[in-house]
């Protein structure tokens, strides 16, 4: 049987992949996808600990994380659309001004 440590290590690996994606990619949409990977790694940790402790609280927190992720995706993609209209680019390095 896989133990709690297996799930935690998998979660850590997924989180690191997401972090690396945020730093390495130069595309706003891929960066948002990397954030989703990180959120899912955290969800896996919550569920694994909830299973290990025998409570349902972990699963409930995962629901809240999912709703926050949905809200974040909606607002983030709206911002991406707005930025793309102004600059015709998705490279975050082109957005260096606070106001246009």
């Amino acid at each position: 049987m896989p133990t709690l440590a297996h799930y935690l290590v998998l979660s850590a690996v997924l989180f690191c992949i997401g972090t690396a994606g945020v730093f390495v990619r130069r595309n706003l949409i891929t960066i948002l996808l990397s954030i989703e990977i990180m959120l899912n790694a955290v969800n896996l940790t919550f569920i694994a600990f909830g299973r290990a402790l025998g409570t349902a609280d972990g699963q409930i927190i995962v629901f809240f994380v999912m709703t926050v992720a949905a809200a974040e995706a909606a607002v983030g993609l709206a911002i991406v659309i707005g930025l793309f209209r102004h600059r015709e680019s998705l490279n975050p390095d082109t957005f260096t001004m606070l106001k246009w």
Partner: protein, 176 residues
């Protein structure tokens, strides 16, 4: 155990390919595969309702939203060798620093797997968490966060509409 390694391998490989792609459409599709593997892991962890929610909400709603935006923007590929060579993280100093950090992380993970596991880390006996208990807990102990979540969704919806609106309309004041 085999299922765990199968799902874990699919999740990790798909996530790494998400990072490796230059075309965002492939990234989104691969991320859906990664989420499918994660929902399999949730089933292994006795959380079937979360697994179904993962498929419906994440793979079904959020990823389709991403896909929709990618196609709406007709997104250009990352343009690029020139930009990437100029990029701060591509310089040798930060790359060496990152390699050291990655090696430290791998050592920690190996240490965690070899020493921390054992009997104390194994899960208690199977007890499939019922949706009934989950719902009861959600609407009693967590009733207030649940209601706050609805306000959050409303704010996000209004915010997305305001942000994505075209600002060239005559009815919009210039400094809005």
């Amino acid at each position: 155990m085999t299922l765990f390694y199968l799902f874990a391998a699919v999740a990790v490989v798909a996530s790494m390919l998400v990072i490796a792609q230059r075309n965002p459409i492939y990234s989104v599709l691969l991320l859906i595969a990664s989420f499918g593997a994660l929902s399999g892991l949730y089933v292994l962890l006795d959380a079937p309702f979360v697994a179904v929610t993962q498929i419906i909400v994440y793979a079904g709603a959020i990823m389709v939203l991403f896909l929709f935006v990618v196609m709406l923007l007709n997104a250009p590929h990352e343009e690029t060798e020139r930009d990437e060579r100029l990029h701060l993280l591509r310089r040798p100093g930060p790359m060496r620093f990152g390699a050291v950090l990655a090696a430290a992380l791998v050592m920690e993970l190996v240490w965690a797997l070899t020493s921390g596991g054992g009997e104390t880390g194994s899960f208690p006996g199977a007890q499939v968490s019922s949706v009934r208990a989950l719902g009861r807990s959600l609407f009693t102990d967590y009733a207030f966060p649940f209601e706050v979540t609805s306000v959050l969704i409303l704010v996000a919806m209004v915010g997305a509409v305001v942000l994505a609106r075209r600002e060239s309309g005559p009815s919009v004041p210039p400094d809005a």
